[in-house]
């Protein structure tokens, strides 16, 4: 009989559930996709219900429920943090602590109660793992490596902010760690906050801004804010930070150091914000390289696996893969705290059942396609009930049909199979387009995503053609590595300039044959595709290549700015009708915008969805 383990991460940021059967991840999803609240941190009841339904089991059939972190340890850190805060911590203390006393210290009882309230039987009592152990397990156990060095880096778990582990077979052993308040995640978030973006979600924007700036402040950061040691460890100079006091990320001394107050989110972005972004990015890369060096030195392994929010910094990942410090890198696609649910469950299951995916080769993430899927019949029922106009294609015709629309310049909503687990759309819930089109970036940003036009798009490329287009050293199946575009496809002007054009003025120049995915610094956040990871999307790329000679497509998440990625055909149709998309593909069904009945909504959806 199969043995099932449920992993849960909740109550902090991006709640999620994951179900593991005999050492194999069978289902995983983030609660935000169900509740439609971005980064929903509530109890992931819907995500759990989905996992159970997918496996066709009730809570009674679970062998264990593992919560992703240790509440007592975390409470200890929260108290210590306030003991370091001084009188300024009074207000945050008075608002935060009652919540800890009321239920957060006993969060496992809360998890038990919420599970029972689902009405799906009785689960075994929840047990607690530890935050960074969950991250480390999510990085190592599903990785394709028998042995590896493990590096986890985030804002903070309980106490730890950075950990190095040695993974061998089914054992995972802590080698060393750095603890709060000394944290790369906090450093990056402090600059995110200082530049006027939202902490815990605006970090991507800061990273996207960096190529427009010069790292002018990097030396100042190294001198004043961060003390980097030769052994890879580092500390933050807490004179400048205020996150431990509870209400702001940076203190007055920080603002004085950089000569201006925190940027008002409504105000214009200036060149100095780009320079700040470039500077903290440069220092982050230096820290990550130092940590990777330490991980290799301490474990003697040449393969590295990573997780934790900082592992989503795909620019730093790119630098790491090219550094020669390690031979191979594998990064958990759900590197943030959602992935802790998966790590916690795997950690529990692997001890007994081993790592079955190793025998088959490749990783154990099923291309990260671990979320809910919808059959063609289900989609058809939905479309017919709504009176929507669609054409259905057999599989061999579908790809050619969609490829020809893409080649004609259409922006296509691509909804296929099971939803992705983790922050990236990988070709199951994606909006796609022709990367050769000069206007594609602007069109997609302004008419579809309704966001700043500087934000770049990512390319999906057939793995076998990746080297012809990008300077990648290995595969990047989860879009977590940034690489430079190959010289072959760079524009004359870009080659002549000998380097990237910088400054906010240079947004809309064509820099390569694929302008829609070439960032201002001539880089791209690449996803490499194989049949094994995602067959339908790979076949579509093949059809597009056959039609145009180009094995690359623009791939961006199927949502508008501020909204979670779509989950159901209904979510997808709504997003399709609200935006400037031309074609929607739901499984084998193809819909054209012009054929659809008028779409009327009560109120303006832009008022419902908060800006990100």
């Amino acid at each position: 009989m199969s043995v099932y383990t449920l992993g849960v991460s909740a109550y902090y940021h991006d709640s999620a559930a994951a179900l593991v059967r005999d050492g194999v991840v069978v289902a995983a999803a983030q609660q935000e996709r169900f509740s439609r609240i971005r980064h929903d941190h509530g109890f992931p009841g819907d995500a759990i219900a989905y996992c159970l339904d997918h496996a066709g089991i009730s809570l009674d059939e679970l062998n264990a429920v593992v919560y992703y972190e240790d509440p007592e340890l975390k409470y200890d850190r929260v108290l210590s943090s306030f003991a370091g805060a001084g009188p300024r911590g009074l207000r945050p203390f008075a608002s935060v602590l009652p919540e800890w006393w009321a239920w957060k210290r006993d969060v496992l009882a809360r998890v038990d109660a919420e599970l029972l309230a689902l009405g799906r039987g009785t689960a075994p009592r929840a047990t607690a793992s530890q935050h960074h152990r969950s991250h480390a397990a999510s990085a190592f156990f599903p990785s394709p490596y028998e042995n590896a060095a493990v590096l986890t880096v985030d804002g903070v778990g309980e106490w730890q902010t950075t950990t190095i582990w040695h993974g061998r077979g089914t054992s995972l052993e802590l080698v060393n760690s750095l603890s709060y308040p000394h944290s790369v995640g906090m450093l990056y978030s402090a600059f995110t906050y200082y530049c006027g973006f939202k902490v815990d979600s605006g970090e991507y924007k800061l990273m996207g801004l960096a190529p427009y700036g010069e790292p002018k402040y990097a030396d100042l950061i190294r001198r004043e804010l961060v003390h980097l040691r030769p052994d890879g460890s580092f500390t933050l100079n807490m004179r400048y930070f205020a996150f431990h006091q509870g209400s702001r990320m940076v203190g007055r001394a920080f603002e004085k150091l950089f000569g201006a107050p925190v940027r008002d989110p409504e105000s214009e972005l200036e060149q100095r914000h780009c320079d700040l972004a470039a500077s903290v990015q440069a220092v982050t890369e230096e820290i990550v390289l130092g940590l990777a060096r330490a991980a290799v030195e301490l474990t003697g392994e040449r393969r590295l696996v990573m997780a934790g929010g900082v592992a989503l910094n795909c620019v730093a990942n790119g630098v790491l893969t090219r550094s020669g410090i390690v031979d191979e890198v594998w990064i958990q696609p759900a590197a943030g705290d959602a992935g802790c649910a998966l790590g916690a469950a795997l950690d529990h299951s692997v001890a007994v059942h081993g790592r079955p995916h190793l025998a088959a080769g490749g990783d154990g993430m099923s291309g990260a396609l671990l979320g809910p899927g919808f059959s063609d019949e289900e989609v058809e029922r939905f479309l017919t009930a709504g009176g929507y106009v669609f054409h259905t294609y057999t599989e061999d015709k579908l790809y050619d049909e969609v490829a020809s629309h893409l080649a004609d310049g259409a922006v296509v909503g691509w909804f296929q199979g099971r939803m992705e687990f983790g922050p990236r759309a990988l070709g199951a819930r994606s909006i796609i387009g022709d990367p050769r089109d000069r206007d594609m970036q602007k069109r997609m940003n302004l008419k579809i995503k309704f966001r700043e036009s500087f934000r770049p798009f990512a390319p999906a490329v057939l793995a076998e053609d990746a080297q012809d287009y990008f300077g990648l050293t290995g595969d990047s199946p989860y879009m977590l590595v940034v690489a430079e575009v190959a010289d072959r496809i760079k524009s004359e002007a870009a080659l002549r300039a000998g380097g990237p054009g910088r400054g906010l003025g240079s947004i809309n120049e064509a820099r390569s044959e694929l302008p829609a995915i070439t960032h201002v610094d001539l880089s791209a956040r690449v996803q490499t595709l194989t049949e094994r990871d995602n067959a339908p999307f790979t076949r579509l790329l093949r059809a597009f290549k056959a039609a145009t000679g180009c094995p690359v497509l623009v791939n961006t998440s199927f949502n508008v700015r501020g909204e979670p990625i779509v989950r159901t055909p209904e979510d997808a149709y709504r997003c399709f009708m609200r935006t400037g998309m031309d074609v929607l593909v739901l499984g084998s069904h193809v819909l054209h915008k012009d054929d659809q009945p008028p779409f009327a909504e009560a109120g303006d959806w832009r008022d419902e969805i908060p800006l990100d």
Binding site: A83, G84, A85, G86, N176, D231
Partner: protein, 48 residues
């Protein structure tokens, strides 16, 4: 609850905070920032 929290904070946490700051014994302080290594365990290279 907020009142209880405030009282606890003023009577327990502020003195601890000031004491630590005076003696510079905290992980948040300048002495730790200047220490040769920030790893939680000794940095030991070689077979374990």
């Amino acid at each position: 609850m907020r009142f209880v929290a405030s009282t606890v904070f003023l009577t327990r946490f502020v003195p601890v905070s000031l004491y630590r700051r005076l003696r510079d014994t905290s992980r948040f302080g300048a002495r730790f920032h200047r220490s040769p290594s920030a790893w939680d365990k000794p940095y030991a290279v070689g077979p374990r």
